[in-house]
């Protein structure tokens, strides 16, 4: 399927294409990129491709301003990990950093320009209490949720309710597995913990490369509703390029995907990064991944939903097909997260309370 590329996707897929942009197109590019929180990432990409001097001054200002924000987010994240280590000093259990925190602390290229200061950690399920108590002793407290939401988190979800630090207002999400335990896909957290690698100079760990990639894929295509859309694909593209430079990585990845039940999200990750961003993936790996495709007509439906959802939001806030597709993906992600009847109850409850809140405000 051919993807109609708007200027945003084109700039990420083919950075060289920016040299032919008119000032008007540059202005559009900045405005389209901003809602995806990818401005800093774009600047870094263009710098990497020696295209800095092709960026007009007015656009450059905004990219630089965003980069400053991203640098600060990185600092906040590193400090947060520092504080978490301090709080868990006397807790002798394996702690695995996930997602952004892992990328930053492991100094991976995918970390650059990211805007995320929440810290996600993975711990053994039987140690959740211990970790929660230790963090609460050092100033974190459970985000105030209505009791219904609390129950949702603890029953259906795969994490404690988020913990927010009372002074810094930063968030730690403590997970015991990486996808909801009631969902269709059940990656075994013990396998992930076993394969986790130590981070130099700390007592923390990060997921092994294949697991890191699979987690990112699961996050984008199973657990997520692709609301982060292009950002998720850009992360995956970065991870594929970085780890893929090791020729043994690809076979490790496909074997591992089947072993920990994340083959379907990997299919989507490979398929869509290749389709949208021209990510260099060995042809034989793409072919291998076809056996994990969903049955007809789902591949075509997903193609439509995802590429539709990725379309840049119109700049005049009118409802677009893009937002419809994103809504469909949102429903889908909950479908995959919860069995049908509880899902209906959950969505109904949310709709009613949202309506009530609107009326009273």
């Amino acid at each position: 399927m051919q993807v109609k590329r708007d200027v945003l996707i084109q700039s990420f897929a083919r950075p060289d294409s920016v040299v032919s942009l008119t000032p008007f197109a540059w202005d559009m590019l900045v405005r389209c990129t901003r809602p995806h929180t990818l401005l800093a990432r774009l600047l870094i990409l263009l710098d990497e491709h020696q295209l800095s001097d092709k960026i007009p001054a007015f656009a450059r200002r905004h990219l630089e301003s965003a980069r400053i924000v991203a640098n600060n987010e990185e600092r906040v994240l590193r400090w947060e990990v520092n504080r978490i280590q301090r709080a868990l000093r006397d807790v002798d259990i394996p702690i695995v950093l996930l997602k952004g925190a892992a990328y930053v602390l492991a100094n991976l290229p995918v970390a650059r320009g990211r805007l995320s200061s929440d810290v996600d950690i993975l711990v053994p399920k039987d140690q959740l209490r211990v970790v929660e108590e230790a963090l609460c002793r050092y100033g974190w407290e459970a985000v105030k949720l209505e009791s219904y939401d609390q129950l949702y988190y603890r029953t259906w979800s795969h994490e404690l309710p988020p913990l927010r630090h009372r002074d810094r207002k930063t968030i730690v999400d403590v997970h015991h597995t990486i996808l909801p335990p009631t969902g269709r896909l059940r990656p075994d957290p013990e396998k992930l913990l076993e394969a986790a690698l130590p981070l130099d100079g700390t007592r923390l760990k990060v997921l092994a490369p294949a697991d890191m990639v699979l987690h990112s894929a699961a996050h984008a295509f199973q657990d997520g509703d692709l609301r982060r859309g292009l950002r998720d694909l850009v992360d995956l593209d970065d991870l594929f390029r970085y780890f893929g430079s090791d020729p043994t990585f690809w076979d490790t990845l496909t074997l591992r995907a089947e072993k920990i039940d994340l083959a379907r999200p990997l299919y989507y990750a490979l398929h869509f990064t290749h389709l949208v961003l021209d990510t260099p993936i060995p042809e034989r790996i793409l072919q291998t991944s076809w056996r994990w495709r969903p049955i007809w007509p789902l591949p075509a439906v997903m193609d439509m939903l995802v590429t539709g959802a990725l379309a840049s939001r119109p700049l005049d806030a009118s409802k677009s097909m893009g937002s419809f597709f994103r809504w469909l993906l949102y429903v889908r992600s909950h479908w995959l997260r919860m069995p049908p009847w509880p899902l209906v109850k959950h969505l109904l409850y949310k709709a009613i309370t949202r309506g009530r809140r609107k009326k009273s405000s």
Partner: protein, 316 residues
């Protein structure tokens, strides 16, 4: 071409569609709205500002939309939009122009991290700037307006932008927002002062904007070197009292009331250190603007003690 070169009708039509590109110092804004109050405010208060041709390029593409309600008894409101985001609840239509100013400030405070953005007014004379920090109610805007009438160049009434590379303040020269009594006070100092529409009943009381002097607007491209920092506190009565303020306290105040000090990390620390280093810092209590203007008249960039001494003399 400047705003003044368009006829009122042309201006209203252009702002409605496709919108107008105004250059305001370091920022270009693309404003599009059919709300008449805003067009009127632009006509009165931005007349010296350059209009750019519709190149489609701007730092901020903003629009203000009159919200429709099916219920005729609901007062009409106006909503702000930056691209597809609408971050604020709508306000009554009469407050459309102050809303424009506040939203413009908001855009700058969030997306101008190439500067250290401090919540303060600033004025300039002979290349040197006086910064007037202070929370709402401290009288900084009134003082700023009075100094501008006196002949100081207006740099800004709200957002002081310090450039890290040069440690100089960039000018905005935008209208000065005044509230309640301040409007009368300024009019009594100079009855010729041009104001935009005065809005009653905002969350802050009555709000009006003073037109920036043409000279200030023409020199908006000239930065200024920070030289004095004066924390004003307006009191209804009492003699003027100016005292030196410690640099440490000044630093910490600025760090707390800057929009992006923490965001800028070490750069923020260095810029602020430099700023406080080179500036003489004072607190100033006053009830009479005339006394205070004279005190400011005495500022001499070569003299550290002179200003402080004359303040003590007037106190005795």
């Amino acid at each position: 071409m400047q705003i003044a070169h368009l006829s009122p009708t042309q201006l209203i039509e252009r702002i409605k569609d496709p919108g107008i590109y105004i250059e305001t110092g370091p920022f270009t804004i693309h404003l599009q709205t059919a709300v008449a109050h805003i067009a009127e405010g632009i006509r009165l208060l931005y007349e010296d500002f350059p209009i750019l041709e519709n190149s489609g390029v701007a730092d901020f593409h903003i629009s203000f939309i009159r919200t429709r309600s099916l219920r005729p008894w609901v007062r009409p409101e106006v909503r702000f939009r930056l691209d597809s985001e609408s971050p604020f609840a709508p306000l009554p239509l009469e407050q459309a122009f102050p809303m424009f100013e506040w939203c413009f400030n908001w855009c700058i405070s969030r997306h101008a991290n190439q500067y250290l953005v401090i919540h303060a007014a600033a004025v300039e004379r002979d290349g040197y700037a006086t910064i007037l920090p202070g929370p709402p109610g401290s009288g900084k805007s009134t003082l700023c307006a009075a100094l501008v009438i006196r002949g100081w160049r207006l740099l800004t009434d709200e957002l002081t932008l310090v450039a890290p590379a040069t440690n100089m303040i960039a000018a905005l020269s935008r209208p000065i927002a005044l509230k309640n009594r301040s409007i009368d006070v300024i009019r009594s100092i100079d009855p010729q002062t041009a104001f935009g529409p005065i809005c009653q009943d905002t969350a802050k009381g009555a709000v009006g904007h003073m037109r920036p002097p043409t000279e200030s607007v023409l020199h908006v491209g000239d930065p200024a070197l920070p030289r004095w920092i004066v924390f004003p506190t307006y009191k209804t009565k009492g003699a003027m009292n100016a005292r030196p303020m410690s640099k440490g306290q000044t630093f910490m105040w600025f760090a707390r009331s800057s929009f992006n000090y923490t965001l800028l990390g070490l750069t923020g620390f260095e810029v602020l250190s430099n700023l406080v280093d080179r500036a003489d810092c004072f607190t100033l209590e006053y009830s009479n603007l005339h006394d205070v203007i004279e005190w400011f008249d005495g500022f001499d960039p070569r003299e550290l003690a002179a200003a402080a001494n004359s303040a003590h003399a007037s106190q005795a």
